[in-house]
Amino acid sequence: MLKESLRMSLGNIRANKMRSFLTILGIIIGVMAIIALITVMESATGEVTAQFESLGTGKLTVQAGGTPLKQGLRETDLRRIEQLDNVSGISPSLSQNISVVWQGQLLEDVTVKGNGYAYFRKNPTAVEKGRPLVPVDFDQYSRVCLIDSELAHELFSGVDPLGQQLLVKGTRFTIVGLLADPDVDDVMSQMQAMGEDGSLMMPYTTYMRLFGVKGVTGLEVYVSDSDRTNDTVEALEALLDECFNYHDGSYSVINMEGLLDVMDTMMSLMTNLLVGIASIALLVGGIGIMNMMLVSVTERTSEIGLRKALGAKPRSIQIQFLMESVILSLLGGIVGVALGLLVSKLLSNLMNIAFVFSPGAVALGVGFSLAVGVIFGWAPARKASNLNPIDALRSV
């Protein structure tokens, strides 16, 4: 019986191609909008999240301007931060551009940075050759450094830079490693100002001594267990309060993960809002289907009467009409999903973001259109099934 209803419904839809198409246009547009919105939003969210993650999750950024009396964090403060529970290491942002000398050759504009060893733990691929900086380098103020490929290229064409000694501010530094070229996608490294002649990295303890830096105003604190980040932020803030004598506004701690959460919430809020708007299109589409079904019932009054006279039960008439509206709206849903995916693929290409296929959105689109078909087909189907065959046959 169900198969029969299906056959009859399809036959009727086929017989009214143009009208059927126009009717489901509303559903197509609604579902297309929902799919495109969700997919684009999800792709965009994925993209922004990835950007944020490249900025660093599991990492706290500390801005410590300090007080007029104490500008920035002392080396002892940094040591205490390193000892905090759940802190795997720190990386102060220390850098300046100065000249570097090797065997009488002078490079004027080299970025010299003071880093923590945690930087290398966080980025295992940061070292291309040689070794990273290790805790003992920091404890002993070792005069060791790593150089990037640009500096290596400028100074040592044809010579292995490892083991060579450079003069930085009159002090000899041994090159222990070569830094890998940063990932082009890594926003963080792109943001750092680079000297014209490349850069060089040394332990921050050594850096502070060498340049007589008393206070560090910016640093990153790495967290080992990101589930406990909030506790760590509290502990860190307590420590910083103590360092700066509870002076208001002497520092700020930025938790990237917290930002990410806020952004996620905002994005999903936005998605819901847009989907809500798109649902209006679906609603309108549903009313369109209801209208067409009602017209169809009226047009086919005598057919319904005949079917009933020939033995159709009210139920089979109802199923037939319900089936028709469900098929119509599902058809609209499927076309809408296909178009929606196409549009979102185009949009994400246009916006230069990665297209993320969202099975949830597809399920939502199909589910929505199914629901629309049932809800808006119900009343017309009911009306058809309740037609009195006598009146219906007379209506010819």
Partner: protein
Amino acid sequence: MTSLHETPFFQMTDICKGYPMGDEWQPVLKNVNLTIEKGEFLSVLGPSGSGKSTLMNIIGCLDTPTSGEYILHGRRVDQLDENQLSTLRNREIGFIFQSFQLLKRQDALANVELPLIYAGLSVQKRRQRAEEMLCRVGLSEKLHYMPNQLSGGQQQRVAIARALATNPSILLADEPTGALDQKTGRQVMALFRELNEEGRTIIMITHDVKIAANASRIVRILDGELSEGVVEDA
């Protein structure tokens, strides 16, 4: 009263049907009594507005009487609900309408298959049965013609084939020649007589004495009252 030993094939006892008209009750059928034997060819003859269609609706199980008892093929029909009436119509009644009532978008075969769908037959059985019926009415060449490609007489034949499809106890025809010219009407009547000779029970409703004369028995209806008539020579 029905005897315990034999259940009648078709028996209407004191059938009344009326409609409320404002505050009043308008009777349309008044104590109709009618018994039909299996294999009879009966004409119900009456002028327009006499209650023929109302009677036909009750006979055809499309409607239930206000009061009275109706037994069809040994079953009481007057108190059945809509679903039971549907099944009964499907099994026991073959409708033939004045205006053919064919589905315009379906070919002859599909039209004849229609009642078989609701009888729950499989696709193959349906097809086979519908073909047989179309052959029976002489349309074996026109299986896939659409109604608008057929003449009026042919369309009525398709309708007759459809009425025969479920092998019902009664063929119930309402003015079957009303939309046909005289010659085609006579052909259709010839087919009716043939079917009757094969043992079909036929009830034909008409206002035309000449058409009614094809039947073996005529009853007259006037203002909702039924009376036994005589077979007049056409």
